[in-house]
Symmetry: C2
Subunit: 225 residues, 2 copies
DNA sequence: GTCTATAGGGGGATAGAC
DNA sequence: GTCTATCCCCCTATAGAC
């Protein structure tokens, strides 16, 4: 009945279940049962559950980040010596997550899984991010500095952190917004979500940096209450 | 040696361990060992692990949301009939999470735990959010509509979603930004983080809503590549 | 490569003495 | 209220037949 081989089927099912339920609460038995494979097949094709998790990630992470860099290359080529358009930088980072078609090979389930990885505890994913995401972050950090001259580096770090949070939560928590809005919002239109994210985050990045040690009007009002 | 009773000690340790390691990977044996309590004490004072999780949440959630509403009341009273300052609305929502002192009783560990809950799978937390957060969301939704006339309700829902993501990731993932910035950023100054968040998100909320079904410049450029 | 069977450990929950 | 001891379940991983 399945059209692919066992190893690929295990990866597909594991990707979806990990995205749905998290890693700790997804057992190898669930995966093999749903993939129509034997429990021992996981330990034959991969070595352990941790190695399976890393294999699920590795299959998508490489193409995803290659596509991000290619898009950023194109953005920089279009800009020439001129200023880098911030929206295009964000688009190069997001687009490969929201479009499943060629030449992007990233399955939508992996987007949700990626969102989950940022929150999941343990040093398994810290290593993944340090190894796989460091070059990506450096390239996009440089692009952001070029697009936002005058914004302190520290502030760019914070705003990238906010960006990752908004992105991760959007990818992994679409059911939340669907539930809390009583179905008002459409969570199926990936293009629309992508554009909403870019508009929102670009405006945040363009905000003037807060004053160092001063009287931020809102904060002081709150604390003086 | 401990100055509080067993029940309170279990709640304190559980709050911290749940924040550090997540729920699934924190066993009752870890909690009781670190709290200097017996394993059976958990099932005596609470009934089950799930009930313990809910008790950890319930202890903080009530005071947290009361404080949020009180701050929002003050913001609205100050504004009178005039426009609501967006930064103050955001401040009323964030401040009780970032300040541990009186009259706010929210332990900083709970902030990290709260950030984790949004991502954690399962319907345990969906129920918590639906029951505890619904009135809060409605009040702040109304305030946001008053502060941002002309912004479509659907867009406000999305931007609240982005806000929650940035907030949750900031609270639960401070180790990420510390690690990826090579220690450049200071993650200990809660006031500074709070102000950075407010500045960033207020700018995002003030951005014009994307056009409905048109040629968003960045998206069309990306898709036409 | 795929299966069965099982080892070996950790988990939540509970009974019953104190 | 607190302890010990234990039940019973599910987990990962592996050995070994096919």
């Amino acid at each position: 009945m399945p059209h692919t081989d066992t190893k690929e089927r295990i990866l597909d099912v594991a990707e979806r279940l990990f995205a749905d339920r998290g890693f700790a609460d997804t057992s190898l038995r669930m995966i093999t049962a749903e993939a129509g494979a034997n429990l021992a097949a996981v330990n034959y094709h991969f070595q352990s559950k941790d190695a399976l998790i890393l294999a699920v990630i590795a299959r998508r992470m490489g193409p995803l980040n290659e596509r991000r860099l290619a898009l950023l290359d194109a953005v920089e080529a279009r800009a020439g010596q001129g200023p880098l358009p911030l929206e295009d930088i964000l688009g190069a980072f997001f687009e490969p997550l929201f479009r499943g078609g060629a030449p992007c090979v990233v399955n939508p389930n992996f987007g949700r899984l990626l969102g989950r990885m940022y929150i999941e505890p343990g040093d398994l994913f810290s290593r993944v991010f340090r190894d796989q995401m460091a070059p990506i972050r450096n390239r996009f950090l440089g692009a952001a500095q070029r697009a936002l001259p005058g914004l302190p580096l520290e502030e760019i770090f914070w705003r990238m952190h906010f960006l990752i949070g908004a992105l991760a939560h959007t990818m992994s928590g679409l059911h939340h917004i669907k539930a809390t809005s009583d179905g008002l919002v459409d969570v199926t239109d990936a293009d629309a979500i992508l554009e909403r994210l870019i508009v929102f985050l670009a405006a945040g990045f363009r905000a003037p940096a807060p004053v160092k040690k001063g009287e931020g009007p809102c904060v002081s009002q709150l604390s003086s209450r």
